[in-house]
């Protein structure tokens, strides 16, 4: 069962543009939704996370939008920079039951200068 679906698989954006990555989940018990950034050869790095009691969270150029009724959440990267070129994974977990993260398939973002 694919618990977290992520799209698109890849995207190319111009420097200064907005990157948008979408995720949808099936398990209504999920209550923690982090995004991870991964550079080639490195481990996933926690970027930003949201709990379902808020609809949006912003940290610098990164914003998570959360729609509980639609069971969807998205990552927006504003003013995209070449250094943002990486693979981004959404994830979800149920903190009341177990703590394992269920990851999406990942989105490779390429920011062109």
């Amino acid at each position: 069962q694919q618990q977290v679906k992520q799209s698109p698989q890849s995207l190319i954006v111009q420097k200064g543009g907005i990157s948008i990555i979408n995720c949808a989940y099936e398990n209504t018990a999920f209550d923690y939704f982090p995004w991870y950034q991964q550079f080639p050869g490195k481990g996933p790095a926690l970027l930003i996370a949201i709990r379902p009691d808020v609809s949006e969270k912003k940290e610098g150029r990164f914003t998570i939008s959360f729609n509980k009724s639609a069971k969807q959440f998205s990552l927006h990267i504003m003013d995209s920079q070449p250094g943002d070129s990486a693979t981004y994974f959404c994830a979800a977990s149920n903190l009341s039951n177990d703590y394992k993260l269920s990851f999406g398939a990942g989105t490779t973002v390429t920011v062109r200068a």
């Binding site: 790095a45 926690l46 703590y99």
Partner: protein, 112 residues
Amino acid sequence: EPEVTQTPSHQVTQMGQEVILRCVPISNHLYFYWYRQILGQKVEFLVSFYNNEISEKSEIFDDQFSVERPDGSNFTLKIRSTKLEDSAMYFCASSGEPYEQYFGPGTRLTVT
């Protein structure tokens, strides 16, 4: 800034051999995890460990796998008899609370 470390960075082993992957979690963290990532695929949960016992494991984590916290700082993943399909990047993660998991740089395991 504290970080999770893993050794070795790359391990090559022959099919049927035992391997031990080592991790040093962030020092005040209480929850420990192993994940793996087959090349080009998503990160998959293997096992979580808390209070010196397994709290959750996936169907991937069969009898060939075991975890141990042999002392106050290390957390190990052992694969008893490696198979070709065990070739992957293995990530250790730790967290202080049961969220905000911080990942190590990974160990690339190649089974030949």
